[in-house]
């Protein structure tokens, strides 16, 4: 096996990435190919904290999930899971009602 592989690489240096893939691939080598960036998987912050309840009174926790102008950030931006996003929107809307968070920031 080792004898076979070695001559192959010597004969055809051009398609090296193709032959390189089935072999053991070090993470650095794989990234060198077509996809040059690897997106980091976002994790739901509330799942990490094991939150069973999102308190609308803690504006400092909710604030990072708002855009600058006061819009609620979508899930795809923050990585929040569906369940926590649902709770989060309710909490944010309550906080808005009692002026802890803005409806629309700006002047």
């Amino acid at each position: 096996m080792a004898e076979e592989n070695a001559p192959q690489q010597q004969q055809a240096p051009a398609p090296a990435p193709a032959s390189g893939r089935p072999q053991g691939k070090p993470p650095g080598g794989a990234r060198r190919g077509k996809r040059s960036f690897v997106r980091k998987k976002k994790v739901c912050r509330f799942c990490v904290d094991k939150a069973d309840f999102i308190d609308y009174k803690k504006a400092d926790i909710l604030a990072p999930f708002l855009q600058e102008r006061g819009k609620i950030l979508p899930r795809r931006m923050t990585g929040t899971c569906a369940r926590h996003q649902r709770w989060l929107t309710v909490a944010i809307k309550r906080a808005q009602n009692i002026a802890l968070l803005p409806f629309a920031a700006g002047r």
């Binding site: 069973d52 808005q96 009692i98 002026a99 802890l100």
Partner: protein
């Protein structure tokens, strides 16, 4: 009617003297106890900057209380009082018992799961030991 838990927050004008706020709180307290309900918590958050202007005011005096009640009309009565009061510029009542119940339930599930996991881990080696003993 079963007991319900409410959060009640109201905001007073920042220029109201503190005795007036205390008076308002005590009247609310009186209204609550009159109906056979009870106040679990009263917190004065004090002067805070509001996220947007209300009645052209940028700041407000926040008061927060938790009420446990089984009287349905109580919230209506409290909100009426707050609406009538001149010092109050904003108020919010949130029914919270169902969410607290959900939180408790989820917490229980989590605990149960946490309790089960180590037991499984200890059970596996024990079983392996038994097998080993049997083979010997």
């Amino acid at each position: 009617m079963e007991e319900r838990v409410y959060d009640l927050i109201f905001i007073c004008r920042p220029d109201t003297p503190e005795p007036d706020v205390d008076k308002l709180v005590s009247t609310l307290e009186h209204a609550v106890t009159e109906k056979g309900s009870k106040i679990e918590k009263i917190e004065k958050w004090g002067r805070k900057r509001m996220a947007y202007r209300v009645h052209k005011l940028q700041e407000g005096f926040y008061v927060y209380m938790v009420i446990r009640s089984s009287h349905g009309e109580l919230v209506k009565e409290l909100e009426r009082r707050l609406k009538v009061s001149d010092a109050v510029i904003k108020y919010l009542t949130v029914r919270l018992d169902e969410e607290l119940k959900r939180e408790e339930k989820l917490k229980k599930i989590r605990e149960r799961r946490a309790a089960r996991r180590p037991r499984k881990a200890t059970a596996a080696p024990a079983a392996a030991d038994g097998q080993a003993a049997a083979s010997l």
